[in-house]
Protein backbone atom coordinates (compact mmCIF):
# COMPACT_ATOMS: atom_id res chain seq x y z
CA UNK A 1 0.00 0.00 0.00
CA UNK A 2 2.74 2.40 1.02
CA UNK A 3 4.73 1.43 -2.06
CA UNK A 4 1.75 2.11 -4.32
CA UNK A 5 1.19 5.47 -2.60
CA UNK A 6 4.84 6.50 -3.03
CA UNK A 7 4.98 5.52 -6.69
CA UNK A 8 1.76 7.45 -7.37
CA UNK A 9 3.26 10.55 -5.74
CA UNK A 10 6.40 10.04 -7.80
CA UNK A 11 4.55 9.93 -11.13
CA UNK A 12 2.27 12.84 -10.09
CA UNK A 13 5.32 14.92 -9.25
CA UNK A 14 6.63 14.38 -12.77
CA UNK A 15 3.29 15.45 -14.22
CA UNK A 16 3.47 18.57 -12.02
CA UNK A 17 6.88 19.44 -13.47
CA UNK A 18 5.22 19.62 -16.88
CA UNK A 19 2.49 21.92 -15.57
CA UNK A 20 4.96 24.12 -13.70
CA UNK A 21 6.93 24.73 -16.84
CA UNK A 22 3.77 25.53 -18.76
CA UNK A 23 2.80 28.19 -16.20
CA UNK A 24 6.27 29.64 -16.23
CA UNK A 25 6.11 30.35 -19.95
CA UNK A 26 2.91 32.35 -19.75
CA UNK A 27 4.25 34.35 -16.82
CA UNK A 28 6.40 37.03 -18.42
CA UNK A 29 4.60 38.42 -21.41
CA UNK A 30 5.67 42.07 -21.57
CA UNK A 31 5.19 44.10 -24.72
CA UNK A 32 8.35 46.08 -23.96
CA UNK A 33 12.02 45.67 -24.72
CA UNK A 34 11.82 42.68 -22.38
CA UNK A 35 9.17 41.05 -24.58
CA UNK A 36 11.67 38.62 -26.04
CA UNK A 37 12.01 37.04 -22.62
CA UNK A 38 8.71 35.22 -23.17
CA UNK A 39 9.93 33.50 -26.33
CA UNK A 40 12.91 31.63 -25.00
CA UNK A 41 13.53 28.15 -26.32
CA UNK A 42 13.83 25.22 -23.95
CA UNK A 43 17.46 24.13 -23.69
CA UNK A 44 17.99 20.87 -21.79
CA UNK A 45 21.68 21.54 -21.10
CA UNK A 46 21.15 25.06 -19.71
CA UNK A 47 18.21 23.83 -17.66
CA UNK A 48 20.32 21.03 -16.13
CA UNK A 49 23.17 23.41 -15.28
CA UNK A 50 20.71 25.84 -13.65
CA UNK A 51 19.38 23.06 -11.42
CA UNK A 52 22.75 21.67 -10.31
CA UNK A 53 24.19 25.12 -9.53
CA UNK A 54 24.22 26.58 -6.08
CA UNK A 55 21.41 29.04 -5.32
CA UNK A 56 20.41 31.72 -2.84
CA UNK A 57 16.99 30.09 -2.36
CA UNK A 58 16.24 26.63 -1.00
CA UNK A 59 13.71 24.83 -3.15
CA UNK A 60 11.41 22.16 -1.76
CA UNK A 61 9.38 20.97 -4.73
CA UNK A 62 8.29 24.14 -6.54
CA UNK A 63 8.44 26.27 -3.35
CA UNK A 64 11.40 28.64 -3.07
CA UNK A 65 12.49 29.43 0.49
CA UNK A 66 14.62 32.59 0.75
CA UNK A 67 18.01 32.24 2.46
CA UNK A 68 20.24 34.89 4.05
CA UNK A 69 22.40 36.81 1.59
CA UNK A 70 25.88 38.07 2.53
CA UNK A 71 27.55 40.07 -0.23
CA UNK A 72 30.76 42.02 -0.45
CA UNK A 73 31.78 44.34 -3.25
CA UNK A 74 35.19 46.03 -3.00
CA UNK A 75 33.76 49.40 -4.12
CA UNK A 76 30.58 49.18 -2.02
CA UNK A 77 31.29 47.21 1.14
CA UNK A 78 29.16 44.57 2.83
CA UNK A 79 25.45 43.88 2.32
CA UNK A 80 23.45 41.64 4.66
CA UNK A 81 19.81 40.87 3.96
CA UNK A 82 17.35 38.04 3.34
CA UNK A 83 16.74 36.87 -0.22
CA UNK A 84 13.04 37.68 0.40
CA UNK A 85 13.99 41.34 -0.28
CA UNK A 86 14.02 40.41 -3.97
CA UNK A 87 10.28 39.55 -3.77
CA UNK A 88 10.64 36.35 -5.80
CA UNK A 89 7.48 34.27 -6.25
CA UNK A 90 7.07 31.65 -3.53
CA UNK A 91 6.29 29.13 -6.29
CA UNK A 92 8.51 29.71 -9.26
CA UNK A 93 12.03 29.70 -10.53
CA UNK A 94 13.59 32.14 -8.08
CA UNK A 95 13.43 35.21 -10.30
CA UNK A 96 13.20 38.40 -8.22
CA UNK A 97 10.83 41.26 -9.03
CA UNK A 98 12.82 43.83 -7.07
CA UNK A 99 16.44 44.93 -7.35
CA UNK A 100 18.00 45.63 -3.96
CA UNK A 101 21.09 47.85 -3.67
CA UNK A 102 22.07 47.05 -7.25
CA UNK A 103 21.67 43.28 -6.80
CA UNK A 104 19.05 41.12 -8.52
CA UNK A 105 17.93 37.54 -8.08
CA UNK A 106 18.02 35.63 -11.38
CA UNK A 107 17.20 31.93 -11.48
CA UNK A 108 17.84 31.65 -7.75
CA UNK A 109 21.28 33.30 -7.88
CA UNK A 110 22.26 36.81 -6.83
CA UNK A 111 23.80 38.89 -9.62
CA UNK A 112 25.13 42.44 -9.53
CA UNK A 113 24.17 45.15 -11.99
CA UNK A 114 27.38 46.50 -13.51
CA UNK A 115 26.08 50.00 -14.32
CA UNK A 116 26.91 52.33 -11.40
CA UNK A 117 24.01 54.61 -12.44
CA UNK A 118 21.43 52.03 -11.35
CA UNK A 119 19.50 53.37 -8.33
CA UNK A 120 20.28 51.89 -4.88
CA UNK A 121 17.64 50.62 -2.48
CA UNK A 122 14.52 48.72 -3.50
CA UNK A 123 13.65 49.20 -7.18
CA UNK A 124 10.83 47.48 -9.05
CA UNK A 125 12.21 45.75 -12.18
CA UNK A 126 10.20 44.29 -15.04
CA UNK A 127 12.27 41.17 -15.54
CA UNK A 128 15.60 39.66 -16.45
CA UNK A 129 16.44 38.48 -19.96
CA UNK A 130 19.36 36.40 -21.22
CA UNK A 131 21.29 37.24 -24.36
CA UNK A 132 24.52 36.07 -25.93
CA UNK A 133 27.21 38.72 -25.86
CA UNK A 134 30.70 38.66 -27.35
CA UNK A 135 33.34 38.64 -24.65
CA UNK A 136 36.69 40.44 -24.76
CA UNK A 137 38.40 37.23 -25.94
CA UNK A 138 36.03 36.91 -28.90
CA UNK A 139 33.90 34.09 -27.42
CA UNK A 140 30.12 34.17 -27.25
CA UNK A 141 28.81 33.95 -23.72
CA UNK A 142 25.37 34.28 -22.20
CA UNK A 143 24.80 37.28 -19.98
CA UNK A 144 21.76 38.41 -17.99
CA UNK A 145 20.23 41.86 -18.53
CA UNK A 146 17.85 43.58 -16.13
CA UNK A 147 14.88 45.45 -17.62
CA UNK A 148 14.17 48.66 -15.77
CA UNK A 149 12.41 51.78 -17.13
CA UNK A 150 12.54 50.26 -20.61
CA UNK A 151 16.32 50.11 -20.44
CA UNK A 152 18.59 47.09 -20.29
CA UNK A 153 21.24 46.95 -17.58
CA UNK A 154 23.92 44.28 -17.91
CA UNK A 155 24.65 42.14 -14.84
CA UNK A 156 27.84 40.42 -13.84
CA UNK A 157 27.93 36.63 -13.74
CA UNK A 158 27.17 35.14 -10.35
CA UNK A 159 30.01 34.86 -7.89
CA UNK A 160 31.34 31.30 -7.63
CA UNK A 161 34.69 29.73 -6.81
CA UNK A 162 34.52 26.92 -9.40
CA UNK A 163 36.80 28.55 -12.00
CA UNK A 164 33.80 29.64 -14.08
CA UNK A 165 32.92 26.13 -15.28
CA UNK A 166 29.18 26.75 -15.08
CA UNK A 167 29.00 30.38 -16.06
CA UNK A 168 30.00 31.86 -12.71
CA UNK A 169 33.42 32.99 -11.62
CA UNK A 170 35.23 35.68 -9.69
CA UNK A 171 33.33 38.84 -10.60
CA UNK A 172 32.97 42.39 -9.26
CA UNK A 173 31.36 41.13 -6.03
CA UNK A 174 31.83 38.21 -3.65
CA UNK A 175 28.94 36.05 -2.52
CA UNK A 176 29.48 34.68 1.01
CA UNK A 177 25.80 33.85 1.46
CA UNK A 178 24.28 30.94 3.33
CA UNK A 179 23.38 29.30 0.03
CA UNK A 180 21.46 26.12 -0.73
CA UNK A 181 24.67 24.09 -0.54
CA UNK A 182 25.68 25.62 2.80
CA UNK A 183 22.20 24.89 4.19
CA UNK A 184 22.40 21.29 2.96
CA UNK A 185 25.83 20.90 4.53
CA UNK A 186 24.52 22.23 7.84
CA UNK A 187 21.55 19.82 7.74
CA UNK A 188 23.80 16.84 6.94
CA UNK A 189 26.33 17.87 9.60
CA UNK A 190 23.61 18.18 12.25
CA UNK A 191 22.24 14.76 11.26
CA UNK A 192 25.68 13.11 11.28
CA UNK A 193 26.53 14.67 14.66
CA UNK A 194 23.29 13.38 16.16
CA UNK A 195 23.78 9.94 14.56
CA UNK A 196 27.35 9.43 15.72
CA UNK A 197 26.92 10.93 19.18
CA UNK A 198 24.00 8.60 19.88
CA UNK A 199 25.85 5.62 18.40
CA UNK A 200 28.96 6.42 20.42
CA UNK A 201 26.87 6.71 23.59
CA UNK A 202 25.25 3.35 22.84
CA UNK A 203 28.64 1.79 22.12
CA UNK A 204 29.95 2.99 25.48
CA UNK A 205 26.90 1.73 27.32
CA UNK A 206 26.82 -1.66 25.55
CA UNK A 207 30.51 -2.36 25.89
CA UNK A 208 31.13 -6.10 25.69
CA UNK A 209 27.52 -6.77 24.70
CA UNK A 210 26.01 -7.33 21.26
CA UNK A 211 25.14 -4.02 19.52
CA UNK A 212 21.49 -3.11 19.05
CA UNK A 213 19.46 -0.71 16.94
CA UNK A 214 21.28 2.20 15.31
CA UNK A 215 24.61 1.03 16.66
CA UNK A 216 24.07 -2.31 14.95
CA UNK A 217 23.38 -0.47 11.69
CA UNK A 218 26.43 1.81 11.82
CA UNK A 219 29.04 -0.63 13.11
CA UNK A 220 29.52 -2.52 9.80
CA UNK A 221 30.25 0.79 8.02
CA UNK A 222 32.81 1.87 10.59
CA UNK A 223 34.30 -1.62 10.69
CA UNK A 224 34.48 -1.66 6.89
CA UNK A 225 36.48 1.57 6.77
CA UNK A 226 38.71 0.32 9.57
CA UNK A 227 39.36 -3.17 8.17
CA UNK A 228 39.28 -2.57 4.41
CA UNK A 229 40.69 0.95 4.16
CA UNK A 230 42.65 2.08 7.21
CA UNK A 231 44.52 -1.06 8.32
CA UNK A 232 45.65 -2.37 4.84
CA UNK A 233 47.05 1.04 3.82
CA UNK A 234 48.21 2.52 7.10
CA UNK A 235 49.19 -0.51 9.16
CA UNK A 236 49.99 0.38 12.74
CA UNK A 237 49.25 4.08 12.12
CA UNK A 238 45.62 3.26 11.25
CA UNK A 239 44.30 4.45 14.62
CA UNK A 240 45.86 7.89 14.17
CA UNK A 241 44.14 8.58 10.83
CA UNK A 242 40.94 6.58 11.30
CA UNK A 243 38.92 9.55 12.66
CA UNK A 244 39.84 11.63 9.60
CA UNK A 245 39.02 8.80 7.17
CA UNK A 246 35.69 8.13 8.89
CA UNK A 247 34.77 11.83 8.86
CA UNK A 248 35.57 12.25 5.19
CA UNK A 249 33.75 9.03 4.26
CA UNK A 250 30.55 9.82 6.13
CA UNK A 251 30.57 13.50 5.15
CA UNK A 252 30.81 12.65 1.44
CA UNK A 253 28.38 9.73 1.73
CA UNK A 254 25.87 11.84 3.67
CA UNK A 255 26.00 14.68 1.15
CA UNK A 256 25.85 12.29 -1.82
CA UNK A 257 22.74 10.62 -0.42
CA UNK A 258 21.16 13.92 0.65
CA UNK A 259 21.54 15.21 -2.90
CA UNK A 260 19.62 12.13 -4.12
CA UNK A 261 16.41 12.99 -2.29
CA UNK A 262 14.07 14.13 -5.08
CA UNK A 263 12.31 17.50 -4.81
CA UNK A 264 14.00 18.32 -1.49
CA UNK A 265 16.53 20.96 -2.36
CA UNK A 266 18.20 18.74 -4.93
CA UNK A 267 21.44 20.17 -3.65
CA UNK A 268 24.57 19.16 -5.48
CA UNK A 269 27.12 19.78 -2.72
CA UNK A 270 29.68 17.09 -3.55
CA UNK A 271 29.17 18.00 -7.21
CA UNK A 272 30.42 21.52 -6.50
CA UNK A 273 34.02 22.09 -7.47
CA UNK A 274 34.70 24.43 -4.54
CA UNK A 275 33.53 21.85 -1.98
CA UNK A 276 35.54 18.98 -3.45
CA UNK A 277 38.54 21.32 -3.79
CA UNK A 278 38.45 22.04 -0.05
CA UNK A 279 38.18 18.31 0.73
CA UNK A 280 41.15 17.58 -1.56
CA UNK A 281 43.19 20.43 -0.01
CA UNK A 282 42.58 18.98 3.46
CA UNK A 283 43.84 15.60 2.20
CA UNK A 284 46.83 17.30 0.55
CA UNK A 285 47.88 19.02 3.79
CA UNK A 286 47.32 15.98 6.01
CA UNK A 287 49.37 13.84 3.58
CA UNK A 288 52.30 16.23 3.29
CA UNK A 289 52.43 17.37 6.92
CA UNK A 290 52.64 13.73 7.99
CA UNK A 291 55.09 12.79 5.23
CA UNK A 292 58.28 11.31 6.71
CA UNK A 293 61.92 11.55 5.67
CA UNK A 294 61.71 8.61 3.24
CA UNK A 295 58.76 10.14 1.43
CA UNK A 296 60.44 13.51 0.83
CA UNK A 297 63.75 11.77 0.07
CA UNK A 298 62.13 9.63 -2.60
CA UNK A 299 60.38 12.65 -4.02
CA UNK A 300 63.48 14.80 -4.51
CA UNK A 301 66.26 12.26 -5.12
CA UNK A 302 64.53 9.18 -6.59
CA UNK A 303 67.19 6.82 -5.19
CA UNK A 304 68.41 3.84 -7.17
CA UNK A 305 67.96 5.39 -10.60
CA UNK A 306 70.64 6.74 -13.01
CA UNK A 307 71.01 10.53 -13.21
CA UNK A 308 69.27 10.95 -16.60
CA UNK A 309 66.22 9.12 -15.29
CA UNK A 310 66.27 11.38 -12.24
CA UNK A 311 66.05 14.42 -14.52
CA UNK A 312 62.69 13.15 -15.76
CA UNK A 313 61.48 11.36 -12.64
CA UNK A 314 61.87 14.16 -10.09
CA UNK A 315 59.76 16.73 -12.01
CA UNK A 316 57.14 14.06 -12.70
CA UNK A 317 57.03 13.12 -9.01
CA UNK A 318 56.76 16.79 -8.04
CA UNK A 319 53.91 17.26 -10.51
CA UNK A 320 52.29 14.11 -9.11
CA UNK A 321 52.28 15.73 -5.68
CA UNK A 322 49.74 18.26 -7.00
CA UNK A 323 47.99 16.07 -9.57
CA UNK A 324 46.88 13.64 -6.83
CA UNK A 325 44.63 16.12 -4.98
CA UNK A 326 43.47 17.60 -8.30
CA UNK A 327 42.24 14.21 -9.52
CA UNK A 328 40.69 13.58 -6.11
CA UNK A 329 38.78 16.86 -6.49
CA UNK A 330 37.75 16.25 -10.11
CA UNK A 331 36.70 12.62 -9.65
CA UNK A 332 34.13 13.30 -6.96
CA UNK A 333 32.91 16.49 -8.67
CA UNK A 334 32.56 14.90 -12.12
CA UNK A 335 30.88 11.70 -10.93
CA UNK A 336 28.23 13.43 -8.83
CA UNK A 337 27.65 16.24 -11.32
CA UNK A 338 27.35 13.79 -14.21
CA UNK A 339 24.79 11.74 -12.28
CA UNK A 340 22.67 14.79 -11.41
CA UNK A 341 22.91 16.07 -14.99
CA UNK A 342 21.81 12.78 -16.54
CA UNK A 343 18.77 12.69 -14.23
CA UNK A 344 17.91 16.30 -15.15
CA UNK A 345 18.29 15.61 -18.88
CA UNK A 346 15.91 12.65 -18.48
CA UNK A 347 13.41 14.94 -16.74
CA UNK A 348 13.89 17.39 -19.63
CA UNK A 349 12.48 14.72 -21.97
CA UNK A 350 9.05 15.78 -20.70
CA UNK A 351 9.52 19.25 -22.21
CA UNK A 352 11.38 18.07 -25.30
CA UNK A 353 8.65 15.55 -26.22
CA UNK A 354 5.88 17.82 -24.97
CA UNK A 355 7.29 20.81 -26.88
CA UNK A 356 7.13 22.99 -23.71
CA UNK A 357 3.45 22.37 -23.04
CA UNK A 358 2.15 22.43 -26.65
CA UNK A 359 1.76 18.67 -27.03
CA UNK A 360 0.04 17.02 -24.07
CA UNK A 361 0.31 13.41 -25.41
CA UNK A 362 4.01 13.96 -26.02
CA UNK A 363 4.42 15.30 -22.49
CA UNK A 364 2.55 12.31 -21.04
CA UNK A 365 4.83 9.93 -22.98
CA UNK A 366 7.74 11.93 -21.68
CA UNK A 367 6.43 11.65 -18.10
CA UNK A 368 6.34 7.84 -18.30
CA UNK A 369 9.70 7.58 -20.08
CA UNK A 370 11.39 10.11 -17.84
CA UNK A 371 9.94 8.52 -14.70
CA UNK A 372 11.27 5.07 -15.55
CA UNK A 373 14.66 6.27 -16.81
CA UNK A 374 15.09 8.50 -13.76
CA UNK A 375 14.27 5.61 -11.42
CA UNK A 376 16.90 3.50 -13.18
CA UNK A 377 19.46 6.31 -13.03
CA UNK A 378 18.75 6.94 -9.34
CA UNK A 379 19.40 3.27 -8.58
CA UNK A 380 22.80 3.62 -10.28
CA UNK A 381 23.44 6.91 -8.47
CA UNK A 382 22.78 5.20 -5.14
CA UNK A 383 25.67 2.83 -5.91
CA UNK A 384 27.81 5.73 -7.17
CA UNK A 385 27.18 7.64 -3.92
CA UNK A 386 28.73 4.77 -1.92
CA UNK A 387 31.50 3.99 -4.42
CA UNK A 388 32.67 7.60 -4.70
CA UNK A 389 32.70 8.11 -0.93
CA UNK A 390 34.67 4.85 -0.66
CA UNK A 391 37.07 5.78 -3.49
CA UNK A 392 37.80 9.20 -1.99
CA UNK A 393 38.51 7.57 1.38
CA UNK A 394 40.62 4.71 0.03
CA UNK A 395 42.70 7.05 -2.15
CA UNK A 396 43.21 9.40 0.79
CA UNK A 397 44.33 6.42 2.86
CA UNK A 398 46.69 5.24 0.13
CA UNK A 399 48.26 8.71 -0.21
CA UNK A 400 48.71 9.03 3.53
CA UNK A 401 50.00 5.45 3.66
CA UNK A 402 52.60 6.18 0.95
CA UNK A 403 53.72 9.32 2.81
CA UNK A 404 54.08 7.71 6.24
CA UNK A 405 55.37 4.27 5.23
CA UNK A 406 58.68 3.17 6.79
CA UNK A 407 60.82 2.01 3.87
CA UNK A 408 63.13 -0.96 4.13
CA UNK A 409 66.29 -0.45 2.16
CA UNK A 410 66.21 -3.73 0.27
CA UNK A 411 62.83 -2.69 -1.14
CA UNK A 412 63.97 0.63 -2.43
CA UNK A 413 65.24 -0.58 -5.79
CA UNK A 414 61.88 -2.00 -6.64
CA UNK A 415 60.35 1.50 -6.77
Amino acid sequence: MLRFFLSTIYILAFALIGLAHDNHDHGDGHATICGEAAHHEFNAGDNAIHHISDANVYSIGPIQIPLPVILYAPDKGWDFFMASKFHADLIGHGDGHVAYNGYVLDGGSVKRIVDAGFPAGEVQISGVIHKDVTMANGKEQEAAFVCYNNNLYKTDAKSTADAGLFGGGITSFYDFSITKNVTSMAIVLAFLSWLFLSVARAAKKNEGKAPTGLQNFMEPFVGFIQDEVAIPFLGDKADKFLPFLLSIFFFILGLNLFGQIPFFGGSNVTGNLAVTAVLAIITFFITNINGNKDYWGHLFTAPGTPWFVKLILVPVELLGLFIKPVTLMLRLFANITAGHMVILIFVSFIFIFGKSGESIPGAMGGVVGAGLLTLFMMAIELVVAFVQAFVFTILTASYIGAATEEHHHDEEHAH
Binding site: L165, E228, T327, R331, F390, V391, I394, L395, S398
Partner: protein, 68 residues
Protein backbone atom coordinates in the same frame (compact mmCIF):
# COMPACT_ATOMS: atom_id res chain seq x y z
CA UNK B 1 33.56 24.41 -34.84
CA UNK B 2 35.59 24.54 -31.64
CA UNK B 3 32.83 22.68 -29.84
CA UNK B 4 32.88 19.67 -32.17
CA UNK B 5 36.66 19.26 -31.94
CA UNK B 6 36.34 19.32 -28.14
CA UNK B 7 33.65 16.66 -28.41
CA UNK B 8 36.02 14.44 -30.40
CA UNK B 9 38.71 14.95 -27.74
CA UNK B 10 36.28 14.02 -24.97
CA UNK B 11 35.24 10.94 -26.92
CA UNK B 12 38.85 9.82 -27.37
CA UNK B 13 39.54 10.28 -23.65
CA UNK B 14 36.49 8.20 -22.80
CA UNK B 15 37.55 5.44 -25.26
CA UNK B 16 40.91 5.18 -23.49
CA UNK B 17 39.38 5.11 -20.03
CA UNK B 18 36.71 2.65 -21.16
CA UNK B 19 39.31 0.23 -22.53
CA UNK B 20 41.35 0.54 -19.34
CA UNK B 21 38.46 0.03 -16.95
CA UNK B 22 37.08 -2.80 -19.08
CA UNK B 23 40.42 -4.53 -18.93
CA UNK B 24 40.58 -4.17 -15.16
CA UNK B 25 37.03 -5.47 -14.85
CA UNK B 26 37.70 -8.52 -17.02
CA UNK B 27 40.91 -9.40 -15.17
CA UNK B 28 39.18 -8.94 -11.82
CA UNK B 29 36.31 -11.22 -12.88
CA UNK B 30 38.81 -13.86 -14.02
CA UNK B 31 40.73 -13.65 -10.77
CA UNK B 32 37.54 -13.90 -8.73
CA UNK B 33 36.50 -16.98 -10.72
CA UNK B 34 39.91 -18.49 -10.10
CA UNK B 35 40.08 -17.56 -6.42
CA UNK B 36 36.61 -16.85 -5.07
CA UNK B 37 37.94 -16.58 -1.50
CA UNK B 38 39.99 -13.45 -2.42
CA UNK B 39 36.92 -11.56 -3.67
CA UNK B 40 37.17 -8.79 -1.04
CA UNK B 41 40.79 -7.89 -1.80
CA UNK B 42 40.29 -8.11 -5.56
CA UNK B 43 37.21 -5.89 -5.48
CA UNK B 44 38.89 -3.17 -3.40
CA UNK B 45 41.94 -3.12 -5.67
CA UNK B 46 39.76 -3.16 -8.78
CA UNK B 47 37.89 -0.05 -7.62
CA UNK B 48 41.17 1.66 -6.71
CA UNK B 49 42.75 0.97 -10.12
CA UNK B 50 39.58 2.01 -11.94
CA UNK B 51 39.65 5.27 -9.96
CA UNK B 52 43.21 5.97 -11.11
CA UNK B 53 42.27 5.47 -14.78
CA UNK B 54 39.17 7.56 -14.28
CA UNK B 55 41.41 10.34 -12.96
CA UNK B 56 43.30 10.52 -16.25
CA UNK B 57 40.04 10.60 -18.20
CA UNK B 58 38.67 13.33 -15.93
CA UNK B 59 41.69 15.55 -16.49
CA UNK B 60 41.15 15.23 -20.26
CA UNK B 61 37.45 15.97 -19.78
CA UNK B 62 38.00 19.09 -17.68
CA UNK B 63 40.75 20.37 -19.98
CA UNK B 64 38.41 20.02 -22.94
CA UNK B 65 35.75 21.94 -20.96
CA UNK B 66 38.22 24.73 -20.30
CA UNK B 67 39.26 24.89 -23.97
CA UNK B 68 35.64 25.01 -25.15
Amino acid sequence: MGGSIVAIGMGLAVIGAGLGIGWIGSSAMESIARQPEAVGDIRANMILMAAFIEGAALIALILSFLVA
